[in-house]
Symmetry: C2
Subunit: 324 residues, 2 copies
Amino acid sequence: MATVSRVVNGNPNVKPLTRKKVLETIRRMGYRPNAVARGLASKRTTTVGVVIPDISYAFFAELARGIEDIANMYHYNIILCNSDLKKDKELQLIEALFEKQVDGLLFLGGKVTDEHREIFSGSDVPVVLAATRDDKENRPYVTIDQVQAAKEATGVLIREGHQRIGLLGGPLTDPIIGYPRYLGYKEALLESGLPFEEKWIRMGNYRYDSGLKAAKELLETEEGPTAIFAVNDEMAAGAIHAAQDLGKRVPEEISVIGFDNIPLATQVRPLLSTVAVPMYDIGAVAMRLLTKYMNDEPIENNQVVLEYRLELRDSTRLQGEPAH
Amino acid sequence: MATVSRVVNGNPNVKPLTRKKVLETIRRMGYRPNAVARGLASKRTTTVGVVIPDISYAFFAELARGIEDIANMYHYNIILCNSDLKKDKELQLIEALFEKQVDGLLFLGGKVTDEHREIFSGSDVPVVLAATRDDKENRPYVTIDQVQAAKEATGVLIREGHQRIGLLGGPLTDPIIGYPRYLGYKEALLESGLPFEEKWIRMGNYRYDSGLKAAKELLETEEGPTAIFAVNDEMAAGAIHAAQDLGKRVPEEISVIGFDNIPLATQVRPLLSTVAVPMYDIGAVAMRLLTKYMNDEPIENNQVVLEYRLELRDSTRLQGEPAH
DNA sequence: CTGTTAGCGCATTCAA
DNA sequence: TTGAATGCGCTAACAG
């Protein structure tokens, strides 16, 4: 019995001939190791929990792919849970994941509250944040500099000479996307001495339809913006179509820049200029970092800020890529 | 100890006062049940395995959302695995999932081979197929009638009066999408007495870029098609843009119809006419069916064919919805 | 209604 | 290099 355990787990202390015989017998009997029993005995389940806002968003789907690929590479499985960004659901899911004895947890894109911190620190399971961060406590994360990126995106419109730049934002209560990207927009305007006007700001829910609708409102007003920064690509695509529906040409009359660089960005005409966020990499790097924690590998940097890139295509007029 | 187990599992055979005391103590101690131990003892893990081609495809992401929602509703967790439609990877994943003692398995959108059948029947874990089927063995599935739907989509173009109808297909070796949708296209043409020409057929990989490229080739040829049926929306969107890039107006000069009705269909101009596939429902119904198997509930129908719907928007000229 | 007992299928000592 | 014994934390009879 112990010997079988040894060969199944690749323990070298088995005579080659014995190993061969065991393997043969395993094959013949169709023996399948019970990972649950193994998990109970070894206290390792080789599965990690992933709490993600909504897998049906292109952004998170791509991130999840990065996570799963790396997990698979290190022989982990992932238990995937949609949180819809609801705190109570998040908490309940994390609890359930801990009960299932996951070896690690990836928490994506939600706000980290005291309740999160309490449940996280009540366990010795490593937790890595992805596409979010905890600015109060020191917890490992992988993300990008949202404020700076939003600032640069807005900067593109400014350098094109626009004086009236609108914002298609997300809820300011969203500390992960909505607020920082709003902040970047605001800072860019203020630093350039351009007017920052509430009336050129509309909040959406990150979906195409909300972008379409909000952009229409913006563009229909007197003295409306001549350029729009949307905090994600879906809304930006909506803005392009809103402009077109109103008979305005993009980018000749209206410039639009988005954020994320989801596939949709190259599936609209004109091609959408945007901030290319390394979605897959955020997931992959976060998962890799988590494996280091789970296997007690040395960790040089547990708070990684990935690079983004301005991807200027045809919905803006500026050419080339500015340094940043 | 047994009493604690009873209150944790909601067993009614506990005196209310005792229950209260146990609950109180649990809270005070911060006791967290170990689901792995429970799984070993009870032989139920309340987790199901999901093998899916690629979660970063909008189609499967939406399906996965349906699965997870219903799983969550019935207090199951899902272990999500991307197979990339590779048989060996699928097999290996299924094996790993069985080792982890999943209570059930959802197998999505891959071809079911003899090797699949062997591994499936070598276990008593219930398996439900979603967005695919096994036409050789009698296994539960949830899907739509691909051939008929493709036939109707093609029929829309035929009724518009087109004589030269092109196909943007998938690999004919793909028995789930590529082949049946090709078949529907072919049957529709033949039944209408229209020419079925190889030269009007291009195979893509379901991605936007391949649709764009293939459609360009098709539309640039002499005597090219005046209408295109793409077997999925991404390629259809590519076709719309290919036409536009060539200076042809959609739908005035070229009609395009897609398949799936992913969000992209309403995020291009003109809005894409397509076959609305109930992606979320396929996932949800499949998961619900699986819960019935896992809980030994009576099952009236274990091979469900869901309804699709023609969603005629602006990339075709036909109005309204034909009966089917 | 509650406590006692015996596994669940493994990994992990410890001896041999 | 191998086998025997122990226990991981729980559920499921069973007895009381």
